[in-house]
Amino acid sequence: MWTLIQIELFKIFRRPRTYIAFAAVAALIGVIQFGLKLDGDAYIAFMMRDINSSISVEGKILNGYQVCYIVLQALLVHVPLLISLVAADMVSGEANMGTLRLMLTRPVGRTKFLLAKFIAATVYTVLLLVWLAILALFLNMLIFGVDDLFLLKSQYVVLLRKDDIFWRYIGAFGFAALAMTTVAALGFLLSLFAENSIGPIIATMSVIVFLTILSTLSSIPLFNTIKPYLFTTHMISWKEFFDIKVNDANEAIIGSIQNPGRIIRSSLILLAHIAGFLGIGIWVFRKKDILS
């Protein structure tokens, strides 16, 4: 199995297409960093326009933690597309190239073959998020420095002390890795049904867009019923790491999370989706006639 995973990783990282996602993340973060470095104060002024009169904030709002949060909010919507570029190509791309039949005439079971491919796709996903973390968190900490994190929620504001933030980002990136692995599993499943990469990539994005719309249509009771079961509803639960618990005196409890149960529940639902997508994929692939 280890040999199979090594071979799959070797193939992934020898393909030029793989680096598109890394380059795209670098370019997008670079643009945001450039913009905020040049005109960050205007952005903060715009963000604070409604509460400037009632709250007085000391210190540097536009710091590395703040920029990282802005980047995550902007990018985590688009990263699924970059993930699907590779994940949805894992099997369909080989079918298209004709190498799938060459691989499957080797003494390797189909289940092992598929698991190795999925693990390789997961490693790629995690590495992409590590890359995102390096650029969005560590690089921004260097460029913009660190200070408290000030977040505007829909009905309240959250102020996190600078020594209580770093671990939250580690948790958020870990959760994002789980969410993106769910996207990878979906793309991977869809790639079993096609013999070209474009179809599964578009299908993966279409499913995510469709389910995200359903997740946000909270005013329709029917959709509210199914919403808790959609993986797209839970993909944004990384934000829970940045909600802090308060005591009776309305003081923040350092090192706490407002609703850790929600993170656990979302994680379990995402894991169930990953297992489901992978299980269906293995079942389909074991029975599939390779005609490509």
Binding site: T3, F10, R15, M97, R101, M103, T105, P107, D289
Partner: protein, 330 residues
């Protein structure tokens, strides 16, 4: 059964120790795709050391059969035994001793020839050193291009690399599906010589499919002709290609009557089949005159009696009904 001759006391049978002369045994194999029956009740066997030619027109069911032999397609019915083991239950043990190129030799274009070879060597569990891999590339004439990306290769070079990949784990059985497709005359000659080299020098058993009769004629020791998914005929190449074993196409006023009469006569053993508007018989050329006289005694009203000496004629005759364009002669 041949399984008895496995020279192993371990629980897992080892195809390398299999000593039976029948390497591949296919029994009543069928494959149905929805309403379309691609292969029907096909049975044949391949013996150790054979270059087994698998001949048939495009769409005859050759590739489907070969994909079933290499586990890419699951049979609807029937049984495949390779090295005396059931392919359905001993897939991995068998495939460790099988090398194959299925249709086009598609490899990873973004990798070099050497990287492709090394990748498939690892996948096959073959711990081959760089020197051995280079030797393999040398054999197929690609040693000088070992480090070049495959995307720069010609079709012939890709085909030779595909064969090197099929051989990388030193298999006992090699399966080549249409290996000369898309090749220029030099490429075709290279592949032909490679097959002969593998058979004669390396003592490999080779199954090679083609719709090009001339190619099969030059390399095969035994031949199976398949048409519309069914076996038409099978035999040693020397018997099928022997001009003395002439195929005679007989056309009469009533072929059904003629077929019944011939079945009851001394010529029943020569009958091959009744296809289209002709009855095919196989006989020594010297017997044709006597056969002609006997037709009169059997009260068979003759329209034509045509001896066919060329295998191509025979091939086209037995696979009749597939002609899409009228025949023209210069």
């Amino acid at each position: 059964m041949c399984n008895d001759v496995f020279q192993t006391r371990s629980r897992q049978p080892d195809p390398r120790s299999y000593l039976c002369s029948v390497i591949v045994k296919v029994s009543h194999l069928s494959k149905q795709f929805n309403e379309f029956r691609a292969v029907r009740d096909l049975s044949f066997s391949v013996e150790e050391g054979d270059v087994y030619g698998f001949l048939g027109q495009n769409g005859a069911g050759k590739s489907t059969t070969i994909r079933m032999l290499t586990t890419l397609i699951t049979p609807t019915d029937g049984e495949i035994e390779i090295f005396g083991l059931s392919l359905a239950s001993h897939r991995n043990e068998i495939l460790r001793q099988v090398g194959s190129v299925i249709e086009k030799p598609d490899v990873y274009k973004y990798l070099s020839a050497y990287e492709n070879l090394a990748l498939f060597a690892r996948l096959s569990g073959s711990g081959r050193t760089r020197a051995l891999l280079m030797e393999q590339l040398e054999m197929v004439g690609l040693a000088e291009r070992a480090n070049d990306k495959v995307k720069t290769f010609s079709q012939g070079m890709k085909q030779r690399l595909g064969i090197a990949i099929a051989l990388v784990h030193d298999p006992r059985l090699i399966i080549l599906d249409e290996p000369t497709n898309g090749l220029d005359p030099q490429g075709i000659a290279d592949v032909r010589n490679l097959i002969l080299h593998l058979s004669r020098e390396r003592k490999k058993t080779v199954i090679v499919s083609s719709h090009l009769l001339g190619e099969i004629e030059q390399v095969a020791t035994r031949v199976l002709i398949i048409d519309k998914g069914s076996k038409v005929t099978e035999g040693t190449a020397s018997a099928l290609f022997d001009p003395a074993q002439t195929i005679v196409a007989l056309q009469t006023f009533d072929n059904d009557y003629a077929w019944r009469q011939l079945q009851l006569s001394v010529w029943s053993g020569h009958l091959q089949q009744q296809r289209g508007d002709a009855i095919l018989l196989k006989m020594d050329r010297n017997a044709i005159a006597q056969f002609n006289r006997d037709l009169v005694d059997l009260d068979i009203q003759l329209l034509s009696l045509q001896p066919r000496h060329s295998l191509e004629d025979y091939f086209l005759q037995v696979t009749s009904g597939n002609q899409h364009v009228d025949t023209y002669t210069n």
